[in-house]
Subunit: 200 residues, 2 copies
């Protein structure tokens, strides 16, 4: 194994474990010592890769954003924009259900914790959610131009509403440790868009 | 001034200032020393009223819940349930706009920070949001039975969706320091319920 690849493995391990720590305890409550304890990486080695907790968390958010969007884009397998919207929302649902609604959305968590105290970090989380809104706007616009979706509102307005209701649904499902709030939110979106399915 | 009322003033002052600290910095990052510094209350006096940070925050959430619901209920001045729904959502909008979308929703913030690490505190925040969902369910049910609202979904499902999209909209508006995300979310709710107004 080359030094290069061992170094990459250390970075990936630290990034993965830090996502978990931040999602359950939050940014402020997670210290570099907690990360050392969780990963087993030596202190000097950790600081060689990441000069501070802030630098580490910026890298963590970039990685989470890449991974999450790669995962979401994979769900867009249909010719129909409406079917792709449903498929994308179901992918979000499965993502959180598989984690038993623990941890929530790392971007939403960071925004709520750091909006006022650390704009540098929270703006990265905010632009990840904007990327999701832009993707939804694009799908809705295509659906409207193909006549699949019939709404008297701009696609961007409805996209903002859909992402807001998914983020809020993830939060309520996390609070209750139940799929119901997120599913209720999605069923209402499906009704509004004219998607017939209503899963339990 | 009697000792009783001076004591009450100290409690109210501490509770008010703590809401502000928790909303901007979060529960974990706010120490009893921060609260002493912010309020000017002596340490012994603070611990006389509240035995620990946890006890204080439980009282803070109870007070925030009472104040917020008193404020929301005041907006329900119409005979029409549909008009009351609009009036209630506009009251939520004004509440956050007057704070320039800083701080967000204390119940949502607490849920996202403490769902896994402090279920005792987060369950109080969760039940405050449930109270909001129950109020919305009641208004929707009345609107449906009066024929003002025509939806093929149970009132509880739509209520959960509305509160989720408001909470998510508050979060996105906080991230962008702009009224647009929350207003977009509300305009989509209004369209869905058949409420004609669409404010800028």
């Amino acid at each position: 194994m080359s030094t290069q690849s061992r170094s990459e493995i250390t970075r990936s391990n630290v990034i993965e474990k830090t996502i978990g720590l931040i999602n359950t305890a939050g940014y402020t409550a997670t210290s570099m010592d907690d990360i050392i304890k969780e990963t087993g990486v030596k202190k000097g080695n950790l600081y060689f890769h990441f000069s501070s907790k802030e630098e580490l968390v910026l890298k963590v958010l970039e990685k989470a954003r890449e991974d999450y969007f790669t995962y979401l884009i994979k769900s867009l397998v249909f010719d129909s924009p409406l079917k792709n919207i449903e498929s994308l929302l179901e992918a979000v649902f499965r993502f959180h259900k598989s984690r038993k609604f623990t941890g929530g959305c790392i971007f939403g968590n960071i925004i709520l914790e750091l909006s006022e105290s650390n704009p540098r970090i929270s703006s990265v989380a905010s632009s990840a959610l904007q990327e999701w809104i832009d993707l939804m706007t694009d799908l809705l616009s295509k659906g409207i131009s193909l006549g699949e979706i019939n709404l008297p509102l701009p696609a961007g307005t409805v996209a903002e509403h859909i992402v807001a209701s998914m983020e809020g649904g993830i939060m309520l499902s996390r609070a209750k440790k139940s799929s119901r709030p997120l599913r209720d939110s999605m069923n209402t979106i499906y009704f509004m868009l004219g998607i017939k399915q209503s899963r339990a």
